[in-house]
């Protein structure tokens, strides 16, 4: 069967490029770790002794994990600081299971720990860690009530990282496929990565959906027209982009662990785009702020702090955009540059300045 070039592009190259784009964007932007690091997330079940309230002096938590690769170099543990600067010191120890001696043993001041965030315990890289089971424990030395940290109950509780260097990978190219498979596989153990990766997969998913289902209704030439003539979406009954956006927005509230302005910049720009496409009034943006903020107390009562926090963050972002939108709406007709020019002219026409100028001119 002869395959036409167009079919090859439609069936082969385009999906491949979109998948490649998905992987690349996910690996580069969705993961907060370096490309050459494999990170594996663990939840509470991996802890041998679990204690989620304050870690008082001499109390410890311990965990066991099986190394999935060589080059184990970091164990990051999520702590709770109760929003204060604590003065405790904790000892972090790690050894291979079955061995008596600790491979690594170091004391850390907890005043550098962040609330509900990971603290990175770096250790000398173990080059032959793959397949071995490791045991680590964290012990408080002088924690006391009101002045101690605890292990956060939020999953993942801890993360292990395997550090490969570019030189090592390039020197031994046979390990690259294994490295990539593990990297992709274990990246999905992090819910943040999964959600972000899902966003980057949307072009591929939309393409496939279109290709197998909508194509007969929506031939390529129409797609081109849809993109060029984007204003047709403004029709009263066509809010598909808005719905997609709100779907993604809800997804990020419910499934992301942390929302930062710098990380959500794409979504913010998309919303600005939608404002332009649909000519949305600032009250719509404020409404989203209201909706987000209304979610927050509900989930706070339900003890889902992360969702409450995410919702509050989106409330802030929409309030910010709404305010900027309203300020823009107020001043776009006023032509601010022209206004400044007029103001300066007014000031220079002021009789006192004229007097000063006169005196100045008279100076020898």
């Amino acid at each position: 069967m002869k395959i036409s070039f167009n079919r090859f592009v439609a069936f082969g190259i385009t999906p491949f490029l979109l998948m490649f784009l998905w992987l690349i964007l996910s690996l580069f932007f969705a993961s907060k770790y370096s490309l050459s690091v494999i990170s594996v997330a663990y939840n509470k079940t991996s802890l041998v002794s679990l204690k989620t309230d304050e870690l008082l002096a001499k109390q410890k938590v311990s965990a066991r994990f099986r190394a999935i690769a060589n080059n184990l170099g970091i164990v990051s543990v999520r702590f709770k600081t109760y929003g204060r600067i604590n003065n405790d010191e904790v000892v972090f120890r790690l050894r291979e299971e079955g061995k008596k001696n600790w491979y690594y043993d170091h004391t850390y001041r907890v005043d550098q720990f962040q609330d509900d965030d990971y603290f990175t315990f770096g250790l000398p890289i173990i080059s032959n860690s793959e397949g071995k089971t490791y045991y680590f424990e964290i012990e408080s030395t002088k924690g006391k009530r009101g002045d101690a940290v605890s292990i956060s109950a939020t999953s993942p509780v801890f993360i292990t990282q395997y550090q490969f260097t570019k030189q090592k990978l390039l020197a031994n190219k046979t390990i690259i496929p294994d490295f990539l498979i593990k990297k992709i596989h274990y990246s999905f153990s992090d819910i943040n990565f999964t959600i972000s990766a899902f966003i980057y997969a949307l072009p591929f998913l939309f393409y496939m959906l279109w290709f197998f289902y909508f194509k007969k209704y929506l031939p390529p030439i129409q797609i081109k027209n849809l993109i060029v003539k984007y204003k047709m979406y403004v029709s009263p009954d066509n809010y598909i982009l808005l719905y997609v956006y709100i779907f993604v927005f809800i997804l990020s509230i419910f499934f992301k662990n942390k929302i930062l302005l710098s990380e959500e910049i794409i979504l913010i720009f998309l919303w600005l785009g939608l404002i332009r496409i649909y000519i949305l009034h600032s009250s719509v943006t404020f409404f989203l702020a209201l909706a987000s903020l209304s979610i927050s107390p509900i989930f706070l009562i339900l003890n889902s702090e992360i969702i409450a926090e995410n919702a509050a963050m989106w409330a802030y972002l929409f309030l910010l955009i709404g305010t900027i939108q309203a300020i823009y709406g107020l001043y776009k007709k006023a032509q601010p540059l022209r206004a400044i020019q007029l103001l300066l002219r007014e000031l220079s026409d002021n009789r006192y300045f004229k007097k000063i100028k006169k005196v100045w001119d008279r100076l020898p």
Partner: protein, 754 residues
Amino acid sequence: MRKSNIVKIIIFVSLLLLVNFFLLRPGFWFYQDAGFWPKTNHEAMALFLQQFHIFTNLGYYMGSDQGLLSFTRILPVGFTTFVFYILKQNNSQIVFTFTGYILSFASFYLFSGIFFKEKRLRYIMSLVYVFNPLSYTLQGYVFYNATVPLFIYSFYKYFFNKEGFRAKYLLLNIFASFIWVSYIRFVQGYSFIIFPYLIYLTLRNRREIRLNKIVIFLFSYLLIFAPVIFAFISQLLERSDTAFNYGNLFGNYIIKNKMYDAFNIFQSVGAKLYEGKWWSTLGLIVFAYMIYLITTFSKKKHSVLYLLNLSLILIGITMYGLGNIFGDTIYLQVIHFLPFIINGPYWAMYILGVPYVILIGLLTKDRIKHLYIFTFFLIVLATFPLLNLFDFQLQKYNIDSVPTAYKTYFITSYTSIPEASYYFLRDCWRAEFMNEANVPTFCINYGHHYPPIIFDNPRVVSGNTNDISQFLYATTHINNLRITHNLKNIFVPNDMVKTKGPGPITETKEIEMAKNANLEFEENKLLSADNNQNFSNYVFVDKDKYDFLIYSPKTIIFSQDFNILTGDTLDMNTRPVILPKNSLQIPDAISNNVKIEYKISPLEPYKYYLHVTNIDNVNSFLIQFNQKYSPIWQMKLISKAYYDEKSCISDWKTFTITNNSYCQYQNSFLDLGNVALLKKRNVSELKHFQGNFFSNTWVVSPQDSQGENELYLVIIYAKQIYYIYTILIAGITLMGLFMIFIIQEVQKKIRRHI
């Protein structure tokens, strides 16, 4: 306004105050920061005089350059002293608090008149403002709330009234500025509200601006705030390590607040009234309600004022959640410049009062029922302290309930020379009687008789003073501190109990440490004990034979190791001084029989008059002054007549071991005689260096004594001389403005009659 409406408003306000009757109970608050309320007239006066000194040691044996903190608190401290002298402990704080409420109400009422005409709306908004949740958390210091509205109102009236220059508005503006600067944490925060408002009002009324008003305004500010400007600029020029202590300190760690709490309008700080999940939830719902009003408002034409206030609220929220919004890197960069707005979760929230209320006013202007809903919310909140009578933080403290031992040692008025004291585990602990009285931890402030030698507040001191204080924590090896710190007393708590509520942490470990310390001090043969059930007071048996504040060392010990302080190697009889090995200008031989007599006043810690005798004219001699080292301390040669001008009000006390004696002189309110010191010759600055690790050593050579066998000297914190000038300039300017104000008002009245 109709009479019936006035009556309704009066009844309403009275009811509000009635539900807050907790303010009216006898006793006063000793909560941590507000524990600075004076306990005796002498303390009140010392607090007031502190504003006129650039170097102070109030409450500590060691002192520090106050820098920006000098003179800034003159207004509230002056008022505190005034009400304290008239009404004493119990009632003075109540009057102080009520004055704050009234001032805030009046200020907001005047301010709201710039934007709203309807009086009813303005009255309700002023009530909302005064009874906003943050008023309670200000713990009696409600007058801070008046700053923003009063400043903006007076600025507006001064610049944009059509009557020309009116001194009363300028004076009102200066008054607001003094409140503004009186609490260092609000200086930055309030500027985020005040300056945008000023820009907005200036643009709106730009045609009314007159150059003469600008010149008078700037000139008056420059002169009246000269002491503050001088204190700050001089620290910058000195490259003082304490000028940016706050920025450096807070820049070391990141505080991440919950974003949902940024929207919680029931923010609770010091008093912890509205803590917990349910309060956060309620606070969020109230804010969501406000956004609901915003969404409906935006359908109308946007007013600039509406967007200004919305933006200001967003700035507050952004600052509150900076770490969460932008991440660690930006947080750390910002905190160096704005430590007072993002240090801690709450300072950013304090600035929101005005924009919140103005925004609520704008949103509900035509929908008055919504304003009633908001007012209702806040009244419910105002009644909360009534419902929670046993709230720990708001309990008032009756000084009569303090055990006699504490009263005798720390509360009884003491006006003589203080005795350096070492408090094992710091000078503040939770004592048993505090549990019985169900009151917060009471920290002994302004120990006029027994000031602590430990001064480790990194916001105020840095360098060796701070490091040594940290080093000496919980030590029981204190014998050498007699020489380096002039130590005479040791206090060890006996009634320490576990922490309850805010305050220093005392747990089983600390209680055990205090017990062990008692055992060790009891075995120390140099000490005699005077114990009671509240604390043990150990006194060095020979404390009347030495005074190491100002003395002439006989021997020099070279060391750079702090451990020498907690050793037992120094022999007091050799009058040693510890110097670093590389000290410059140390003569090979020093005169060892020099005698020093000095005059001292505990209320003027920046100046000491010395009479030095037994100078041998061949060898140099050392003078050691055990006070925080600074190159600003200068030793000046004065005449006998100048020395004699200061007469003693106490007997001379002689110390045989240190071969010196002192008497107390009568302090003056504003010693203009200091100005004469400008012309006096200095002992060379090259011969002034750090001795005993943190204090001042001078080498006085035969050239300085010029063949005389006695010398008259003064040790002065030199900046104080210039500081006095700036205070005089400020005072004269203020008096001038007052005179213009009186003339203008009289003229106005005469014109009306004509």
